[in-house]
C-alpha cells in the first residue's frame, strides 16, 4: 500500500468518525452486556423513584396476624415475595429499599468522586510538594483495607444513614484521587496543553477547560464501577447493623441480617433482598465494563 493510499483510507475512516463521545455511544449500544446493564439499572432507578406506585403495601405496616402460625408465610398471590417476621410485605420492603440503596450509593460516590477528583487534579497538575503531600495521605488511607476504613468512620460518626454515606464515600476518595492524578500526569505535557500555556491561558483554565475534559473518560468508568461497589459496601455496613438504626427501615443489607436469623424456616426472606442487591450491582458493573470498552476499543474482549 502506498502512502497516498494509506492517507486516503485514513481520510475515509475519519469521515465516518463523529467524535469520541458519539463513537463511544455507538459502540456501547452494540454491546449486549451493556444493554443488559442499562436495563437492570433502569429497573432499579425506576423502582426507586416510583416506589409508592409499585409497592402493593406499606413497607412498614405490620400484620402480625399473618405470622401468628410462625415465621413466615412464603410467596402467595396476596404477597408475591411473602411476608417477613412482623408480617410486613417483603415485596414492598424491597421496592422501598431500592430508594435507600440508590440514594446512599449516588451520594457516597459523589462524595468520593468530588473530593478525590479535586485532590487528584491538584496533585497531578501542580506536582511538587502538593503532589507528595496529597499522595502520601492517600497511601495512608489505602493502607487501611477499604471496608475497615468505612467501619472506622462509622464508629466515629455513629451508625446511621448519613454516616454510612460519608464512610463509603471517604473510603473511595483515594481511588479517584490516584486515578485522576495518573491520567492528568499523562496529559500534562501533551501538545495541546503546551499550546494553551504558550498563548498565556491561566493555569486554572488549562486544568478545568483543557486537561480535565481529556482525562475524564477513565473517571466515568471508575465512577460507574464505584457505584456497584458502593451498593455492596452500603449493604455490608447495613448487614453489620451500622446502617439506619430504625429497624423498620427497609434497607436491603439490614433486611438480610434479620433474614439470616430465619434462614431455616424462611429462606426467601434472604433470597429476595440479596437478589435485589445483585441485580443493581450487576447492572452498574455491566455498564462500567461496557463503557470501558466503548471508550477504549483496543480493550475489546480483553478485560
Amino acid at each position: 500500500m502506498s502512502v497516498a493510499q494509506i492517507e486516503e483510507t485514513a481520510l475515509e475512516q475519519n469521515l465516518t468518525s463523529t467524535g469520541l463521545w458519539r463513537d463511544s455511544w455507538r459502540r456501547l449500544r452494540r454491546n449486549p452486556g451493556a444493554i443488559v446493564g442499562f436495563a437492570f439499572v433502569a429497573v432499579f432507578v425506576a423502582v426507586a423513584i416510583l416506589a409508592p406506585l409499585i409497592a402493593p403495601y406499606s413497607p412498614t405496616e405490620q400484620n402480625l396476624a399473618l405470622v401468628a402460625k410462625g415465621c413466615c408465610p412464603g410467596p402467595s398471590r396476596e404477597h408475591l415475595m411473602g411476608v417477613d417476621e412482623l408480617g410486613r410485605d417483603e415485596l414492598s420492603r424491597i421496592v422501598y429499599g431500592a430508594r435507600y440503596s440508590l440514594v446512599i450509593g449516588v451520594f457516597s460516590v459523589a462524595v468520593g468522586l468530588s473530593i478525590g477528583m479535586l485532590l487528584g487534579a491538584i496533585a497531578g497538575y501542580l506536582g511538587g510538594a502538593a503532589d507528595s503531600a496529597i499522595m502520601r495521605a492517600m497511601d495512608i488511607m489505602l493502607a487501611i483495607p477499604g471496608l475497615l476504613l468505612a467501619i472506622g468512620i462509622v464508629a466515629m460518626l455513629g451508625p446511621g444513614f448519613v454516616p454510612v454515606m460519608v464512610a463509603v464515600g471517604v473510603a473511595n476518595v483515594p481511588i479517584f484521587a490516584r486515578l485522576l492524578r495518573g491520567t492528568i500526569l499523562g496529559q500534562r505535557d501533551a501538545d495541546y496543553v503546551l499550546a494553551a500555556r504558550s498563548v498565556g491561558v491561566r493555569k486554572s483554565v488549562i486544568l478545568a477547560g483543557h486537561i480535565l475534559p481529556n482525562s475524564i473518560s477513565p473517571v466515568i468508568v471508575a465512577a460507574t464501577l464505584a457505584m456497584a461497589t458502593a451498593i455492596i459496601d452500603v449493604a455490608g455496613l447495613g448487614f453489620l447493623g451500622l446502617g439506619p438504626q430504625d429497624p423498620a427501615t427497609p434497607e436491603w443489607g439490614t433486611m438480610l441480617t434479620t433474614a439470616d436469623r430465619y434462614i431455616s424456616t424462611a429462606p426467601f426472606l434472604a433470597f429476595f433482598p440479596g437478589l435485589a442487591i445483585v441485580i443493581a450491582v450487576l447492572g452498574f458493573n455491566l455498564i462500567g465494563d461496557g463503557l470501558r470498552e466503548a471508550l477504549d476499543p483496543k480493550l475489546r474482549g480483553r478485560v
Binding site: I140, A143, V154, M156, F239, L256, I263, N285
Partner: protein
C-alpha cells in the same frame, strides 16, 4: 535487589507514621472523652482531673502523640473496655482464626481463578471463556455476606453436608497450642479434629474468596491474551517447542506477573471481607471482634485492631513487592 529492598523498607516509614497519626487523631475525634467513657458521665471534676493526669491527657498534644507511639511500638495496644483484657492478648487469640480463613479463601481463589483465567484465554471466545467472564462478573457483583447466607442454607441447613457456624464442633476434644486449628490438629496428630476444622472452613472460604477469585480469573485471562501474542512466544513455537513447554515456560510464567501484583491488594479485600464472613458464620476472629467492638464503643479494641490489620496489610504488600522484584528483574531498576 538489596538496594531495592532497602528502598522499599524506607517507603514504609512515612506510611507507618501516617497510620499512627491518623488513628491518634481518630480516637480524639470520637464522641465523648476517655474519662467519661471509663469513669461514667457523672464522675466528679476532681476524679476526671486525676484520671487525665494519670493517663497524661493533660499534657500537650505532641507529647501525648509521642507517648502513644512509644506505647504501641512496645506492643501495648491498650486495654479492652468490654473485657478489661489487654488488646494484644485478644488479638493473639483472634488473629489465627482470621489468618486461617483468609489463607483458605486465597487458596480457593488462586486454585480456581488461575486455571480458569488461563484456559479461558487459551480458548478465547469459547464456552469456557464465556463461562469465566460470567462467573467473574457474578463474583464481583454478589455481596459476600449474601453468598455466605446462601451457601450456609444450601450446604449446611438443607443438605447437612457441612457445619453452619464456628470453627470446631463442640464435641471434638482438641488442643490448641498455636490457635491455628488445622495446624494444631496436624501437629497433635488429631486427624478427626483436622477434618472437622477443614469442614468448618469450606463455606466461609468460598464466600470470602469469591471476589479475589473473580479478579484473579479476569487478570489472568487478560494478561494471558496479551502474552500469547508476544514475539518470544511465536519464536518458541517456531523453533518447535512442544505446546506444553511454550504454555508453561513462556506464556504462563510471564502472564503471572500482573497477577502477583494484585494478590497483595486482594489481602485487603480479604481482611475487610472477614468482618462480614465471620459475622455470617459466627467465626471468633478479628472481624467479628471488631464488629462487637463498634457496638460496645470499645475504642481501644477498634483502634488496636484496625492498626494491627493495616500494618499486616502493608507488610504483606511489602512482601509481594519484594517477590515481584525477585521474579521480574526490570522492576528493581525503575
Amino acid at each position: 535487589m538489596l538496594r531495592f529492598a532497602v528502598r522499599r523498607l524506607f517507603l514504609l516509614v512515612p506510611i507507618l507514621i501516617g497510620l499512627s497519626l491518623l488513628l491518634f487523631v481518630w480516637v480524639r475525634a470520637l464522641p465523648g472523652t476517655p474519662a467519661a467513657a471509663l469513669l461514667g458521665e457523672r464522675a466528679t471534676p476532681a476524679a476526671v482531673e486525676r484520671f487525665e493526669r494519670q493517663y497524661g491527657l493533660d499534657r500537650p498534644i505532641h507529647v501525648q502523640y509521642w507517648a502513644y507511639v512509644k506505647t504501641i511500638a512496645s506492643g501495648d495496644l491498650g486495654t479492652s473496655v468490654a473485657s478489661r483484657r489487654p488488646v494484644i492478648t485478644e488479638i493473639k487469640e483472634r488473629f489465627p482464626a482470621t489468618v486461617e480463613l483468609a489463607l483458605a479463601a486465597m487458596l480457593f481463589a488462586v486454585c480456581v481463578g488461575l486455571p480458569l483465567g488461563f484456559v479461558a484465554a487459551k480458548r478465547y471466545g469459547g464456552v469456557v471463556d464465556h463461562g469465566s467472564l460470567f462467573l467473574s462478573l457474578i463474583g464481583i457483583s454478589i455481596p459476600i455476606f449474601f453468598l455466605g447466607i446462601i451457601l450456609k442454607y444450601v450446604f449446611a441447613v438443607r443438605l447437612g453436608w457441612l457445619p453452619t457456624v464456628g470453627r470446631q464442633d463442640v464435641l471434638i476434644d482438641a488442643e490448641h497450642p498455636t490457635g491455628f486449628y488445622i495446624l494444631d490438629a496436624i501437629v497433635t496428630g488429631n486427624w478427626e479434629a483436622a477434618l472437622d476444622a477443614i469442614k468448618h472452613l469450606v463455606l466461609p472460604a468460598i464466600a470470602l474468596g469469591s471476589i479475589p477469585l473473580a479478579i484473579i480469573a479476569r487478570i489472568t485471562r487478560a494478561s494471558t491474551l496479551d502474552v500469547q501474542n508476544e514475539d518470544y512466544v511465536r519464536t518458541a513455537r517456531a523453533k518447535g517447542l512442544p505446546p506444553r513447554t511454550v504454555d508453561g515456560r513462556h506464556v504462563l510464567r510471564n502472564a503471572l506477573l500482573p497477577v502477583v501484583t494484585i494478590l497483595g491488594l486482594q489481602v485487603g479485600v480479604l481482611l475487610g471481607g472477614a468482618v462480614l464472613t465471620e459475622t455470617v458464620f459466627a467465626i471468633p476472629g478479628m472481624g467479628s471482634w471488631l464488629k462487637e467492638a463498634i457496638f460496645n464503643h470499645d475504642y481501644p479494641v477498634l483502634m488496636g485492631g484496625i492498626l494491627f490489620l493495616a500494618v499486616i496489610f502493608v507488610l504483606v504488600n511489602l512482601v509481594v513487592d519484594l517477590t515481584y522484584g525477585l521474579i521480574n528483574p526490570r522492576i528493581r531498576v525503575s
